[in-house]
């Protein structure tokens, strides 16, 4: 592949191409569930699938169209990659998303030459390694130091957890480049490995993980590694700002991809529940099992709506996404983790003592847990959004309308404008106003219970917003109280409801979100979380959700919002079967 590719950047590829290329994983084949489980045990990804991804030109998805790749709409990118996450999240990370996350720093802060160079490297299949700890996380090691000698840095010290450390052709290194405390003491350096410099980096100390087992993580030790000064990404000392800006794309994309893993798990659970007999019936004849399934479906639908809206917000409201993506990543992953937890109870011993063909669920559960771990340790997960939260809320105080483009799932999007992503509060909250938006509310039947739930969530949002907007800087720093962090959590839960309600309002009549019972059930799950305890859904809501899951699974259609109820005849044998 080269930069002067003949076909236009938007390309002719359809989002579901990978589902066709990979085939149905329940059917025997080179990339079936049995192989995926065996590969996971052996800590490797499928060679066949890797080759298919190469042939599919996966690398082009990691590169913005203006630099020769095919990444225009991030929502399309997510849709194209979801088939990977329906089969093996490890493959998705190893064969794309790790490099994607590192490259974002270059697209965000790199100069023209750096961007062009990295694009060229990625398009020919190279990878970029990066540390698992980013600057958002807090728990930064101070052990990696770069000193300037003439026109090059000399890097010494160690970075504890580097993904793809020994395999990638390049590594993004976060190094201390100035003494003293504060965020302006660190810089991002991009090292391109070659025969001369490779011996100066020791990546022999491998670290393994319980989930995403195929990931190749190692500690990287630098023994006077020279990096040319012109490979400093962004202005010296601005690594923190660059990471805050760049990471929001990954914070939006990874949860949206993880939805596919839960979607696949729901399909497995429906099949297991119908096939497995217990107490004279099937597992799904038991009311409690149906309730577990129903709750997981509702949580997945909300997670899908919220994560997709946030992905669209990167394009529609790029200057308001920093705070939003920190919160949405946590809440979406919480919803998905809760769904997996519920499904693991439904699977019972079949989950713990793996039984084919459902054994892949056990892997999905571990992989999802690994994806859900926030980058840094130590501080409560919502802490990174707190410092900018009051300003973010304040800037949209008067707004009562939201851009409906946020909610029109699947509508084309302009290319992502990296230079418009904000590292701080930016233009404020693009989403919360949906809870009071007349257009959104008009889509809900007057007097219906779902509108009642929405109104109560809107009140909770206003209350949280009111309290948060009044916080002083001391209250939003490292000393933030658990109460403040909990307010941020509540606010983000309400934003999830805003996203879901917006999607309901803009959805076609045939969409599952047009169903009032589905709407009520999904919003109830949010309301319960705001109240602190997720109780049982009403029987008619359980029945509607479970019937939806059973019907879609029977007809081989996925449960996610982007799946149409009528499976296109040409793809009748693929898609949602997974």
């Amino acid at each position: 592949m080269s930069l002067d590719r003949a076909e236009p950047a938007t390309g002719p590829r359809e989002p579901d191409d990978l589902d066709l290329l990979f085939g149905d994983p329940r059917e025997p084949g080179p990339f079936d569930y049995a192989t995926i489980v065996a590969d996971d045990e052996a800590r490797r990804v499928s060679g066949t699938a890797s080759t298919l991804l190469d042939e599919w030109d996966a690398a082009a998805d990691l590169v913005p169209a203006e630099l020769g790749g095919r990444w225009v709409s991030t929502e399309d990118l997510v849709r194209r990659w979801r088939p990977v996450f329906r089969r093996d999240p490890s493959l998705g990370m190893a064969h794309g998303l790790t490099t994607f996350g590192a490259a974002l720093h270059v697209w965000t802060a790199g100069d023209e030459a750096q961007r062009t160079d990295v694009a060229r490297r990625l398009l020919r299949g190279e990878r970029i390694a990066s540390g698992l700890h980013d600057l958002d996380g807090g728990g930064l090691a101070d052990d990696c130091v770069a000193d300037l000698y003439g026109d090059r840095w000399l890097v010494r010290g160690a970075v504890p957890l580097v993904d793809e450390a020994d395999r990638a052709e390049s590594m993004l290194i976060l190094a201390r480049t100035a003494s003293g405390p504060g965020s302006r003491s660190r810089s991002l350096l991009l090292w391109h490995a070659d025969a001369a410099t490779r011996p100066l980096v020791d990546t022999s100390e491998r670290v393994q993980t319980g989930g995403l087992r195929a990931r190749r993580i190692a500690a990287a030790e630098f023994h006077g590694l020279p990096v040319p000064v012109d490979r400093t990404i962004g202005i010296r000392g601005t690594a923190a700002k660059t990471a805050r800006t760049a990471s929001q794309v990954g914070r939006a994309v990874i949860p949206a991809l993880a939805v596919a893993t839960v979607d696949a798990s729901l399909g497995l659970a429906v099949r297991y529940g119908a096939e497995r007999s217990l107490y004279g019936g099937s597992v799904l004849d038991l009311p409690q099992s149906r309730a577990l399934l129903a709750g997981a479906v509702a949580d997945m639908l909300v997670a899908d709506a919220f994560s997709t809206v946030v992905v669209r917000a990167l394009h529609v409201a790029p200057k308001g996404c920093r705070v939003l993506t920190v919160g949405s990543q946590i809440v979406v992953m919480q919803l998905l983790s809760a769904a997996m937890q519920d499904l693991s109870v439904l699977f019972g011993s079949t989950f713990y003592a793996r039984v084919a063909p459902y054994d892949v669920f056990e892997k999905f559960l571990r992989d999802l847990a690994a994806l859900a771990v926030p980058d840094g340790g130590g501080t409560a997960a919502f802490a990174p959004m707190l410092p900018d939260l009051p300003a973010w809320l304040d800037r949209t105080r008067e707004s009562v309308e939201v851009d409906p483009a946020l909610f029109r799932l699947g509508d084309p999007l302009e290319p992502l404008a990296f230079d418009r992503l904000a590292s701080r509060a930016g233009t404020g909250d693009p989403l919360g106003a949906a809870l009071r938006d007349p257009v959104v509310r008009a889509a809900f039947a007057v007097g219906g219970p779902e509108l009642g739930v929405l109104e109560r969530i809107a009140e909770a949002f206003e209350a949280a917003r009111h309290e948060l907007a009044a916080l002083s800087p001391e209250q939003t720093g490292a000393d933030a109280s658990p109460t403040t962090l909990s307010l941020a959590h509540r606010l983000t839960l309400a934003l999830a409801a805003a996203a879901f309600a917006g999607v309901c309002a803009e959805a076609e009549a045939a969409s599952i979100t047009a169903d009032p019972l589905i709407r009520e059930a999904c919003l109830r799950r949010i309301e319960d979380r705001l109240a602190g305890r997720v109780g049982p859904l009403e029987p008619h809501l359980v029945e509607r959700l479970a019937a939806f899951a059973e019907d879609r699974t029977d007809r081989g259609i996925r449960l996610t919002l982007s799946a149409r109820d009528e499976a296109p005849p040409t793809r009748a044998t693929e898609g949602g079967t997974i």
Binding site: R354, V373, P536
Partner: protein, 572 residues
């Protein structure tokens, strides 16, 4: 022992029964030490390779833990259930795989102690000879539905077994298996029998082991199966009378369910320890993590969950002896509440540890990601959460019967650390259904009154009121063959209220009752329960959690753990 020094030995023997827990813990050693019995790095390594912890099991066998699996009357050391429970907890704190692999023999053997008769001698000999005995209940595709057992036992001069037991802990490595099998084609509760199959006394050609199953956690455990093809055992190997198999199993489960709680409590010890070490050893924004208010609250909540699990384990170990007739309910309350509380604790601590929660291969790390997976085994096997909640639902009728007064002071007395059961419990008191639910649960309002006006009294009263509401709702709940999610929810709330009664009773009976530390522990535990019941929101409980977090951090700096059983081993 001579007649002359007999009495002296008797006096020494009583404290010795508890000192042995301490000695066992010292025997196991520091898991950071590669020469100890269960070094963490070794556990993590074996787990990754799915290898059985042969060395650790052999050393525990040599030490003789199995002697506490056999009642004194049958030649063992078992008097007080808490003693083996505390020893299993000590193993589980280091490695759940080892604890599960060793402790399962207790499960396999307990049926014989319940039925009595000649089988006890054979069972005791097996156990004391390092068995191991596995517990052959489940079959492929039938899960927890034991009444649907398809393995057959044809009872004549000999008992001939046909069928497959799967997945069974120690099915392959075990020397024997206590097998539940169908002995009659007639439908009904008397169609199953329990048989002890000693592989050394059966034609080996009639047995085949089934391959090890890949498990989510405890990857090294021998979770496999046993196929019996006309396996003939002597008629005296029946455990209990023919046709009494299901009843014996149901009664056995009333004792084995409490015996699984120390697995979770040990897991909680490990997780809380990892979280405290992390907080003390890492910095965030230039400061020790332990200094951050949010971190202290997170730690305190984790410690509170661990204390709840420990309190329930301890209280239930007492009720096994004192309220044996209530174990049908109490065992299910404990088996639901303890593993689910510790699962919750694991899920809460995971994001706190960040990437460290996932990694291994780095010295000193890796135990967490293992225990996080391992602990799921407790809530899934020998009755999963749905089965146990269903058992609680089935007891709604007895729970909601008009009150029989309970003197909370009597309960508190029974929970005193120096109060020891008279001896091994009387299995004839086990009932399939209780008469009046659990006295500990009924005592909640009385226990709350004993609290006076301390900081714990507020959440305690809210929980007691909640119990009133829940019991009223349970009385109204329709009796269904397949209970509704609403009934399951009520059962879960009852279990949480039961947990509160355990926590209050255990603190009131503690040596430092009324002291500052006791108040801090109880307030945090009860507020955490109130949050889980939806009676208050999480942030309103963060102050009490923060205080407990401080207490735990201070204890950790001093090399201690916050526990409600401090000094229990040393009690006279």
């Amino acid at each position: 022992m001579t007649t002359a020094d007999g009495p002296v030995i008797e006096v020494v023997a009583t404290p010795g029964a508890r000192r042995v827990v301490h000695e066992f813990d010292r025997f196991l050693g520091d898991p950071r030490d590669a020469a100890s019995v269960v070094p963490t790095d070794r556990s993590v390594e074996l787990d990754e390779r799915r290898e059985f912890p042969v060395d650790a099991i052999a050393r525990v066998d040599d030490w003789g833990l199995q002697r506490w699996y056999v009642p004194e009357a049958h030649g063992g050391e078992l008097r007080d259930f808490l003693v083996p429970m505390m020893m299993i907890r000590a193993i589980a704190r280091r490695d759940l795989t080892v604890a599960v692999a060793h402790g399962v023999t207790f499960l396999g053997a307990v049926g014989a102690w319940i039925t009595g008769g000649t089988i006890t001698a054979a069972m005791a000999e097996l156990v004391l000879d390092c068995g191991p005995v596995s517990w052959g209940l489940t079959e492929r595709g039938r899960g927890s539905d034991l009444s649907n057992t398809a393995t057959t036992a044809s009872i004549g001069d000999r008992v001939v077994l046909d069928g497959e037991k799967w997945p069974i802990n120690n099915a392959t490595r075990g020397r024997a298996m206590t097998v539940l099998a169908r002995s009659s084609d007639q439908p009904g509760p008397r169609s199953l029998s329990l048989v002890l199959l000693d592989k050394h006394r059966v034609d080996a050609r009639s047995l085949a082991t089934l391959p090890k199953v890949a498990t989510h956690g405890t990857r090294g455990a021998d979770i496999s199966g046993l196929a019996m093809r006309g396996a003939a055992v002597e008629a005296e190997m029946l455990v209990g009378p023919p046709g009494h198999g299901l009843e014996t199993v149901l009664k056995s489960l009333q004792l084995t369910r409490p015996l699984t709680t120390p697995l979770s409590v040990g897991a909680a010890d490990h997780v809380v320890g990892a979280a405290l070490r992390f907080a003390l050893g890492h910095r965030s924004a230039g400061r020790p993590v332990a200094d951050l208010p949010s971190a202290r609250a997170t730690l305190g909540t984790a410690v509170a969950d661990g204390l709840l699990a420990e309190s329930v384990m301890y209280a239930v170990s007492r009720e096994m002896h004192h309220a044996t007739q209530e174990m049908a309910l109490v065992s299910s309350l404990a088996k639901f509440l303890v593993p689910s509380t510790v699962d919750l604790l694991v899920r809460d601590v995971t994001p706190f540890l960040g990437a460290e929660s996932q990694v291994f291969g780095v010295a000193g790390l890796g135990g967490f990601q293992k225990v996080a997976r391992d602990n799921r085994v407790v809530g899934i096997f020998d009755g999963n959460s749905m089965v146990n909640l269903n058992m609680i639902v089935n007891e709604f009728g007895t729970i909601t019967r008009p009150d029989e007064p309970v003197d909370p002071a009597v309960l508190v007395d029974a929970l005193r650390r120096d109060a020891e059961p008279d001896g091994w419990l009387d299995p004839s008191r086990l009932r399939l259904v209780t008469r009046r639910g659990s006295r500990l649960l009924r005592a909640l309002p009385g226990l709350v009154d004993l609290l006076g006006s301390g900081t714990a009294a507020g959440p305690a009263r809210r929980i007691a009121s909640e119990l009133d509401r829940v019991v009223a709702a349970a009385a109204e709940a329709p009796r269904e063959a397949m209970p509704s999610p609403h009934s399951f929810d009520l059962a879960e709330r009852i279990a949480l209220c039961f947990g509160a009664a355990c926590a209050i009773g255990v603190e009131l009976a503690g040596p430092d009752v009324g002291g500052a530390a006791s108040e801090i522990r109880l307030a945090a535990v009860l507020e955490r329960i109130a949050v889980r019941l939806g009676l208050q929101d999480g942030s309103s409980a963060s102050a009490s959690a923060g205080r407990l977090g401080d207490l735990a951090l201070q204890a950790a700096r001093d090399g201690r753990r916050v526990t409600v059983l401090e000094g229990w081993e040393d009690a006279p």
